[in-house]
Symmetry: none
Amino acid sequence: MNQVKIFDTTLRDGTQGEGISLTVEDKLKIARKLDELGVHYIEGGWPGSNYKDIEFFERVKELPLQHAKISAFGSTRRKGIPAKEDTNLNRILETGVSVASIFGKSWDFHVETAIQTTLEENLAMIADSVSYLKSHGLEVIYLAEHFFDGFKHNEAYALNTVKAAAAAGADCVVLCDTNGGTLPDGIAAAVGRVCKELSIPVGIHAHNDCELGVANTLAAVQAGARHVQGTFNGLGERCGNANLCSVIPNLQLKMQYRCVTDDQLAGLTQTARYISEIANIHVSPNQPFVGASAFAHKGGIHVSAILKASSTYEHISPELVGNKQRVLVSELAGQSNLLAKAQDLNLDVTRQTDKTKAVIEQIKALEHQGYQFEGADASLELLLREAFGELEHIFTLESFKLLVEKSGDNPFLSEAFVKVRVHGESIFTAAEGNGPVNALDNALRKALVKYYPAIAHMHLADYKVRVIDEKDATAAKVRVLIETTDYKNSWNTVGVSDNIIEASWQALVDSIRYALIGKERSAIAEDAPFGKAGLINH
Amino acid sequence: MNQVKIFDTTLRDGTQGEGISLTVEDKLKIARKLDELGVHYIEGGWPGSNYKDIEFFERVKELPLQHAKISAFGSTRRKGIPAKEDTNLNRILETGVSVASIFGKSWDFHVETAIQTTLEENLAMIADSVSYLKSHGLEVIYLAEHFFDGFKHNEAYALNTVKAAAAAGADCVVLCDTNGGTLPDGIAAAVGRVCKELSIPVGIHAHNDCELGVANTLAAVQAGARHVQGTFNGLGERCGNANLCSVIPNLQLKMQYRCVTDDQLAGLTQTARYISEIANIHVSPNQPFVGASAFAHKGGIHVSAILKASSTYEHISPELVGNKQRVLVSELAGQSNLLAKAQDLNLDVTRQTDKTKAVIEQIKALEHQGYQFEGADASLELLLREAFGELEHIFTLESFKLLVEKSGDNPFLSEAFVKVRVHGESIFTAAEGNGPVNALDNALRKALVKYYPAIAHMHLADYKVRVIDEKDATAAKVRVLIETTDYKNSWNTVGVSDNIIEASWQALVDSIRYALIGKERSAIAEDAPFGKAGLINH
C-alpha cells in the first residue's frame, strides 16, 4: 500500500509551542487551508482542556471541508473510574466529531512516576477508553505516548499497551516519540516490531528535539507506518513537531508514497506561509522546500551553473512545491547574478553593454561601502531601472530636521519636520513618533499622501540595523534594512551611512519610491493634477 | 575508532546563506569561539575568491588558538593549465595555512555541463591539484562535490574521482551532498562503499534541503565516516548546512562518539548564541539543543511531570549542552545563574533575602520588556550592585536635545546638547558627531571628562541594534547592545526602548557608569577635588 495518511496537529500540539496563541478565528482559517492542501485529518484541539477548543469544534462544522476529517484530542480515562464517567472522554463525544485521538501511557516509568498507578490499571484505562469511544461509533486513533522510551526500557509492557488498544477496537495505533530523543534506527526497529504484532495501521508522531523529526518520520514509514502526524512549519512544544512541510514532499517526491495530489502539493509553500502569517510566527527563510531562501542562489559558481541547468544546484524543481528559484546579488557572486536579476525585470542587459558595465561598477562600489542588495530586492530594482533610464522621480527632498529631546523624568520626545517638493508644490510637514525613524516616516507620508493616497495603506513590517565596520562603533557605518508591506506584497530596501538616521531615511525613501513605481504611476496618470510629470531625485 | 573530527565551515559555507555578511573582525571573533569549543578545523574562507578572506588569513595567525587548525578553501585547478599556474591554488599557498580543503567534481553531468570539460581532464584536475598542495607540505582535504548525485548516476566515475584524490595523497576525502537532496539510506550506502574502497579517512558534508542535514550526517558516521562538516546554527546557502549544534551532541551523547570534551560540550549553547549575535542572524528559539525553547515546558501536564522527574519530558539533561530547563510560567530563566553572578561580585545573596527577591523581580520585569542580560554583563552588574546599595551615582542627567538636519545636498548634520550635574556643578555641553549616537556620546564625555579624565581613553567597540517586536516596525521596541573598551578590558551594556535614541542612550550611560565603578572610583579619590562623593542617578 503506497498511501500515507497525513494527520495535522498544528491546531493542537502546534499551539503548545512557545509564543504561539491562536484565536478560534485563526484556527478556522488554518483548518480551511489545511483542508485545501488535502490533509486527511485535522486535530482541532482538546475539548476536555479548554473552552476555546469547544467553540472551535462547534464552528468548524459550518466549514465546507472537502478532504479532512476533524479529530478531537483527549487522554485515556482517569485511573479508578469507569470510562463513561470520565469528563474528558465525554467532552470528545459532545463535540460531535467523527474521529477521536486519545493518548495513553506506554512507558512503565511514566505510569508509576507521572500518573502514579499500576501497570495493570493503565492497560485497563487504555482498553476501556478505546471501547467506550468505539461504542459511540467514533473512529479511534490511539496515541502511544513515549512509546519509544517505553520500548527501550520495558519492551514487553510497551507492546502490551498498544495490543490493548488494538484489541479494544482502535482503528490506528500511533507511536509517539514524545521527548524527541530517539534516533532513526531506534524508530525503525520499534515501528517494524509493532507492525508485525498488530494487524491495524500503525502511525508515527515525532518531535524535533534532536533535529531528527523529519528523518524519524521517514524512517517509520520505511519500517511500515502509514499514518504520519506533524505540524506545519514544525510548530510545537520545545523544538516542535515533525514538520509536515518537509515530510510531505520527501514522502511524495523522493520516496514515491502518495499523500496529496500533485496540484495540492503545489500549494505547499503558500499554505506554509499562510499559516505562519496567521500564527504570527517568524518562519525561517531557510526552511526546507517552502522557505524564501530554499531555492535562492548566492555563490557565483552556483549561479553561473544554474543558468546553464537548474538541476546542477537544485534537488527538485521548486514549482513542485509552489516555491521559486531566486538569484541573490552579493559580493560572493559574479556578474551572472546581476544579469539574471536584470533579465527578470526585462531590462536589456545583453545589448546595452556600456550601461550594464556601469551599473555593475556602481553596485560593486555600493557593496564596498556596505550596501547589501541580496536582502533589498526593491532597492536593487530601483537602481537597475534608474541605470536603464526607466525610473521617474516623483518627489524631491528639500530639507528635514529631526529633534529628539529628553528633560528630567519626562518621556522622550521625537519630532520630525520634512520639506519636500511634489508636483511643483513645496510641502512642509511636522510629525511626532515613538522614535526618530517613526517620526520621519510619519512626516514623509504626511507630505506625500495628498498626491499619492495609496501610501496610506502601506506600512513598515520590519526594520533591521547592522553596524558594518565595528572598529569605532558609534562613528561606524550602519546598514538599515526595511521591509514594507501593503498587505498584498512586501518589498525590502536598504540604506547605508555612518549616520543611522540617514541610513534609515534612505531605506524609507526607497520603500516609498518602490511602492510608487507600480500601482502609483498609473494612479497618478489618472488622478493627479500634474499627470506623470514626477520630478527629480529623492 | 571512536573519534569524529569536527570541521566547521561557518566562516565559508555559512556566509553563503542569505542575509549573512561577516566582517573580518566578526570572523576572527567567531574563530576564537569555535576554537574554545574544541572544533578540529575552521574553514576560514576562499582566498582565491575575495580579498576580505585574504585579510582574515593574515590576521588569524595572531590569534592564540588552542585546538583548531585553520583551513583555506579552493577549487581544483582550472581545465587545461598546470596546477602551479592556477591562481586559486596559489592563493591558498600564499595564506600560509597548514590545511587546504579543495573541491572537485564527482558527477559526470556537472563535468560536462557546468565546467564543460572531459571526464579524463576532470580526473587529472583532481590529481594534479592534490599533488601540488601536498608537494608544498599541506594537509589536503578533498571535497567531492555532488558525490551522492554522481554516485547515483554514474557510480564508477564518482568512485574514480575520489580514488584519484586519494592516490594523489589527499589526507581525507569528504563526500558532499551539495544539493541536499539525498535521503539517509542513499548517504549510508555510498559512504559505506567509499570506506571500503579507500584506506584514508572519509568525511561527510551534508546540506539541509530535505530537512535531513543532521540525519544524513549521523547516517554517514554510522556507515564509517569519521570527519564531519557543518556550520553553527545550520547557517549556509539555501536551507543551510548540517547544523553542528545538533550533530555534535547527537554523536557524543546519543551515539557515544568523541568529538569534544565534556566541558567543551557544556559551552555549546553559549557558542551558538554568541555566533548568532555576531552574525546578527535570528536563531529560532526552538532550535534543538541550544534554543531558548529547547527545554521550555508549557503544557500543564508536562510541567507537573517534570517537577516530579525531569526525564519524563526531557531527552537529555540540558546542562550537558549548557542549556537550561525553563518552565514558561515565569519569564526568568536561571535564577541560579543570577545568584552565581551575584556571588561572583561578592554580594551576599544568601542572607539578604528581601533584596535578592526584589532584584530578581526587577530583572524579570526588565526581561519581560525585552532586556537581555546574557550579552550585557556590565549592565547586569550595575543592576545588582545598585540593588545591594553598592553603587555610587556619579552624575545626574538634567536634559538632552538631539538635532539631526539635512538640507538640500549638504551633508547630514548631527548635534547633541547635554546638561548634566556632576559634583554639584551643572555642566552644559554641545557636540557634533557622524551620527546621533556618536554626537550624544561626544557631548556626554565632554561633560564628564573634567572630573573623570580616564574616560578619554575608553571608546565604543561595537554597537548592535535589534528589533524585538516586529509587528509595527518603526514603532517597535529595539534593543541596543554596546561594547566598550579601554584597550585593556571590554564590557557590554544594554538599552531597550521603542525609541532607538533612548535605547542607545541607556546603553551609553551604563557603559560610562560601569567604567567609573572600578578604576575611576580610586582615581577620583586621588585626583578629583570632591573625592568619592559621587552623586545620585544618571
